[in-house]
Amino acid sequence: MSANIPPPSPAGPRSASVGPNGALPTPTSTAVVNGVGPAAGTAAPAATNSNAPLSQQNLNQIVIDYLSKKGYTRSEAVLRAESSNQAIPNDVDSRPKETGPPKYLDAYTRFEQWTKDALEIYKPEVQRLLWPFFVYSFLDLVDQLYTREARTFWNKFQEQFRQVHEHDLRRLEHTMLPEHQEENGLAKTYRENRYRLPITNASFQYLMQFLEALPVPWYKLFIQIIERQMDIRQVARAGDDNFSFEAILRRGKEDQVVEDEGIPGHRPGNAISSTDPSVGNTLAALRLGKLPMEKELEEDVREDLTDLDLETPALPGESSLLETHEKVNIKQEDDEDGPNRTDIPYPVSTARDVAMEVQKIRENRDRLKLEGRTGGVGPGLSCVIYTFHNTKDHITCMEFSSDNSLVAAGTDMSYIRVWSMEGTQIGVDDAGQPVNSKRLIGHSGPVHGLSFAPSSVQPPGQEAETKPQWLLSSSADGTIRLWNLTLWQCLVIYKGHVGPVWDVKFSPLGTYFVSGGMDKTARLWITSKASARRFFVGHDDDVDLVAWHPNTAYVFTASCDKTVRMWSVSNGAPVRMFTGHNSPITALACSRNGKLLASGDDTGNILLWDLAPGKLLKQLRGHGKGGIWSLSWGVESTVLVSGGADQTVRVWDVNLPAKEGSTVKPGDGGKPEGAAAATASVAAQAGAAKKKGKGPSVSADQISAFLTKKTPVQYVGVTNMNLIIAGGSFLPENFVS
């Protein structure tokens, strides 16, 4: 790292002249103290320390310097010997003085001023330095017990970061004593990691010029931060990527999501956050294609579909079920490679699996096809919303079974309630009366995660039952429970997580599930085993959300540390990391074609990530503050549906707005112009919004927004037929619980 920073040549003589009064001797300054500085260096301390009396000590030092420079070694040695005796009466002077707090306030003020005055071409980049300098300056002050100064410093500068870094600000704000830094997770993370920041060569030179021109103590303050706490990567400015001139300028204008900076240092896409530039330069290869079907299963499905085709031949212009099956389930020429069937063992398929696959094909064939936005007009989607009444906001999570027969709601009163969506009987109560809802009682804390085992609509005449059989729930009591939906009993309790389990998700094919909790781990389980099979460890904070890749070979985790990580199921290794969110992530969903990932956060931002290159595709803005509780993808992965606390369901265009007749397809590798177009649209959008100075701007990618009546949307799902199912709790103005 330090190789990237040219050694500041004037530092040596200057620090030497300041001697013991230097604020904090740094390794750098002592190392180069014997370096030969230019003659100009001698003038500098005189200017800066003009008010200090030109003591005997200093005079001697100057002469010694002069002698050593000229090579009069003997004279120097004599002078040293003689002056050392003389130094005794000056003992008072040489003793370390009470120096007062480091001048972070002044230095930072100056720095801020400089970033404001910087040339346009450097400005956007150097302004990115403000935040890390701010954080580390503050932490240093706290570390040295200058609490009062730290508070003044904080109050003076924090406001400008409020918009982007509010979440971090809130967490750091009360860290006022050194020992707090140990306990505050975020402060610790900042302390223990280097803040990664890529910057172009030219800007870096510009920064160094500025720093070197600063008074020495200030210079030292900054250079310390850079050396100890930051990982500045110098990059060459290129024409076509994020470091192109326009890209940087654009970025400077807006508080746009930056995916390549932060703690822990993140290299776009790569899961390895090492400060060593030689490590992790290659991205782990992903196999994002379909999981091939089991051979016997495939044959059975094929047989059944052939029978069905004979029974009811396809309408003219419609493809037969078998053709659909071949298109959907069988790997095509241009498809990506999928994982091997042997990587992830699954139980032998049953008649139920066959029936479900058949139904899937049937729904796929008969679905409402969404073409994305054609000619500027988005597809008109239909949305059914299930509004829950009398909840008093006690519903903590909601889940609809994929055959749309059951809806489960977890409550903070520790029970789960399952309704039949059509009001049909699903069991009997204690008195033997038929009921259309069941309470599942067992947890001893609020239920935070629910997941139905895969299921599909059971068409009349089909023998194998495909109703949902299992429900998983995770709770703040630290357990995950597996419920049987015919007996309405808890069958297994999975213990392992320490502290609340925030989320749990069944694999798209069942059998496996993944959970994430407050203990900063995500775990992979098999329903038949009581202990976890895989641990996904690496997050710096709670694992808030988990999600599956459709081919079941990967899982995604989102955490309070504001990163999303992608893990391989087969070996438990991290394969991707996505940073860019500035507040906790509240929803996560992988597209059905397995190429994109969507994540929504607390401030209403949705970020789309391209998995293969591991890069940010675009940012979707429009949701109000308060969290996006649910995300779901259309069957074709061309639209994304989101619902959140701002009481709206929104539909987003995933394909970029077509430009100059060329549609950029997401997911086919890092397409630079695609990324640039996305950035352009977002930036232009945001820019316009700022001019108007009104509320949250809405990205042009939004197709439609549906308001609900005082109902925060807690669940959105798109069925296999491309119908949006939403769920939410109706919250009248003044409800009393």
């Binding site: 009360h174 006022m176 299930y386 439609s704 308001l707 925060p712």
Partner: protein, 705 residues
């Protein structure tokens, strides 16, 4: 310096027995406490977020404390807001504490249990269909959201900056309008504003009719006025509100509404709710125009008739009908609301006759026959009391003229009733022929269903009709006498049954018996039947009148105790239109023949009525007569109340000016044949020489409801 004051720390220290605390220690403790609290909050917010809430609850804090290995604070597990009390421990030293009421345990344990909270449940509705939110109560309407700053505009991308703006503009797709809503208030061009000013001034120009016509024509034809619609709607509402005395302005406003609705290029359906009130004002306004009581001051007012406002009401009524037919299906509940407000006006005797006139026409405009039947016909008897005073002329000529207008309005809407019956008409050969095929099976089925004593299978119908009649009658009589069921006799006068003669009540009544006879007069068996049982057990007689009427029937019914006699028929003996029995009061329904008044038949009718009057003097009797001439015309030509307070309404079309003279009443109507030989009737009937013995008494009849 910290939120957590050092005083507090000292207070707490004292409370646990530490009297002196170093100042540095206090301040360090302050900071530490503050930090700990922020830690707890940080965790608590996690719990809040994972509960998908945006409000922090005390239970979240408890959970956070648990996670941090701290004993949670008990007793705050409630979302009831904490109440803080304030006490003073010295000047300027307020002390805050949480109010914690002491509860009497005895009382608490004996208190009734609190209400069980309502069960959690869910409902489903369409939030969006094909990308558009249906305007149903479950979805927020655009008006209700405008207050809380969540207008749909703010939800949509600002199209002005959308990168695909050109594409959107190019796309010729109707749905694009839903994504690109123009903000009207910002972009009303100067030309449009100028146009608006010109048009509104031209329409209100009293001097130049051509100018007015041109303005309206422009509104009817010109495209591209969509952005102006809200302004026009606003303009209409304002003008109508402020110019209620100015008939000219009101009329012009109605024309303006009409012109807007005629414009093919405009979609008015979102504005119907705003357009209807001004129209309704012009229809049922209490006092429209200069008014009769104000002295004519200006020249314009002097040559204006006090009845001019009826023309405006006519216009408004037709406009309302137009709005209903054109936009009724877009505006949910529009017709019901209109009918309700008309009914409210109609039933309020304090409203002016003009308002009543408008309301009655409104019924016809809004709902057609069904509304008229249920709202007008049922109330017209009671309403007559309101009319009686003005009609007598006792309250001045103007009042009387107004009352006449109202009567004509009633007749007009009653005509709708008759037109509604066209599908059941009779007298058309084709319809009759078609019906004939049906009649046999229908008749037989009814016989089997209703005459319960008949064998259900294998009956020889003709044989039954001819041979076994007596047995049947006896069986019915016996059964009726035993069970006390209602016996209805169905017959006709000339012995030939036709399709419409079978006057079944629409719904089958439990316990009814039906006797079907070919002729009520010529059937000897029936005569015997009547003789033997009729006086006791026959309750209703339905008679289709043909060639004979009057004396025979009166002869038959004279001795009967049947409560109702329904007679239908027309002067050509062509059966009848069905007059549906109203379920409320005992009524005699007579569908009298369409004949000249000096004919013997009228005389017989008169006789019958006289006889009825004489016979039923002890009952509150109403006679409704609706007559048909062929298929179209029905006119109420009489509306009075006899000495006993009984209302009689007669309808009768006649080829010429007719006077029907009843014992105390004189009624006139006008009816003429036009050049094409088509019969016309005029609604402005005169009711002459109606001697009404008593003044209307409010609080009687309908008003009691």
């Amino acid at each position: 310096m910290t939120l957590w004051g050092s005083d507090t720390v000292r207070d707490v220290a004292e409370s646990v027995g530490i009297q002196t605390l170093n100042k540095d220690v206090t301040s360090a403790l302050c900071r530490d406490v503050e930090f700990r609290m922020s830690l707890v909050l940080e965790q608590a917010i996690k719990f809040m977020r994972h509960s998908q809430r945006t409000v922090l609850w005390s239970s979240d804090i408890a959970q956070a404390l648990r996670v941090l290995d701290v004993e949670p604070l008990y007793g705050y597990e409630s979302t009831r807001p904490l109440r803080y009390g304030e006490a003073s421990i010295g000047p300027g030293q307020p002390l805050f504490y949480v109010e914690d009421e002491e509860m009497d345990f005895e009382k608490l344990i004996n208190a009734p249990l609190p209400k069980v909270p309502r069960e959690m449940s869910f409902t489903a509705h369409w939030l969006a269909l094909e990308g558009v939110q249906p305007t149903i109560p479950q979805n927020p309407s655009s008006t209700s959201t405008s207050t809380d700053n969540r207008t749909t505009d703010s939800l949509l991308p600002k199209t002005g900056t959308a990168p695909n703006q050109t594409l959107a503009a190019m796309a010729d797709h109707p749905a694009s309008s839903s994504t690109t809503k123009p903000l009207v208030k910002h972009i009303l061009s100067k030309e449009l504003q100028l146009y608006f000013d010109k048009v509104t001034s031209s329409i209100l120009d009293p001097a130049q009719p051509e100018y007015r016509a041109a303005g309206l024509a422009s509104l009817r034809e010109d495209p591209g006025l969509h952005q102006l619609i809200p302004y026009f709607v606003q303009f209409i509402a304002e003008k109508v509100t402020h110019n209620i005395r100015d008939l000219f302005t009101l009329t012009q406003m109605m024309h303006l509404v009409e012109a807007l609705t005629r414009n093919e290029k405009l979609n008015l359906s979102p504005y119907v709710a705003s357009i209807v009130p001004p129209v309704l004002t012009c229809l049922t306004g209490r006092n429209l125009g200069p008014g009769s009581n104000s002295a004519p001051t200006s020249a314009a007012a002097s040559n204006a008739s006090p009845l001019d406002h009826f023309d405006l009401r006519d216009l408004a009524a037709s406009l309302l009908k137009h709005l209903c037919t054109k936009y009724g299906k877009f505006a949910h509940g529009l017709k019901a609301r209109l009918a309700r407000s008309c009914l409210k006006t109609f039933l309020d005797p304090r409203k002016t006759l003009g308002a009543h006139y408008g309301a009655i026409l409104g019924f016809g405009a809004v709902g057609g026959a069904e509304v008229v039947r249920n709202l007008v016909l049922l109330n017209v008897k009671e309403y007559e009391e309101v009319l009686r005073g003005p009609l007598s002329g006792a309250e001045g000529d103007i009042k009387k003229a107004e009352a006449d207008k109202v009567v004509s309005a009633i007749m007009r809407v009653l005509q709708i009733l008759v037109e509604d019956d066209i599908p059941m008409m009779n007298g058309h050969a084709a319809a009759d022929e078609a019906a004939k095929d049906l009649v046999g099976t229908r008749f037989e089925r009814r016989m089997r269903d209703d005459v319960m004593d008949l064998p259900k299978e294998g009956i020889d119908f003709d044989a039954f009709l001819n041979d076994q009649r007596e047995e049947v009658f006896r069986a019915i009589a016996a059964s009726a006498a035993q069970s006390g069921s209602v016996v209805n006799v169905q017959g006709c006068m000339d012995g030939v049954f036709r399709a419409n003669d079978i006057l079944w009540p629409k719904e089958k009544h439990e316990g009814h018996r039906w006797v079907h006879v070919k002729s009520v007069s010529g059937d000897p068996l029936l005569g015997d039947f009547f003789d033997e049982f009729g006086r006791r057990i026959i309750h209703n007689i339905y008679v289709a009148n043909r060639t004979k009427f009057g004396t025979e029937l009166s002869a038959i019914v004279e001795g009967l105790e049947a409560t109702r006699i329904y007679v239908t028929g027309d002067h050509q003996g062509n059966g009848s239109n069905v007059l549906r029995p109203l379920p409320s009061s005992p009524l005699l329904y007579i569908n009298p023949p369409n004949i000249p008044m000096d004919s013997p038949r009228v005389r017989r009718l008169r006789d019958l009525l006289e006889w009825l009057h004489g016979m039923r003097q002890d009952e509150k009797l109403s006679v409704y007569c609706v007559a048909t001439r062929g298929v179209t015309i029905a006119v109420v030509y009489g509306l009075w109340e006899d000495q006993k307070g009984r209302s009689v309404i007669f309808s009768h079309p006649s080829p010429s000016r007719v006077q029907l003279i009843m014992p105390e009443h004189k009624v006139m109507i006008h009816q003429w044949q036009d050049d094409d030989g088509i019969w016309r009737w005029r609604s402005d009937l005169e009711l002459n020489d109606l001697s009404i013995p008593e003044a209307p008494v409010p609080g009687r009849g309908l008003w009691e409801l």
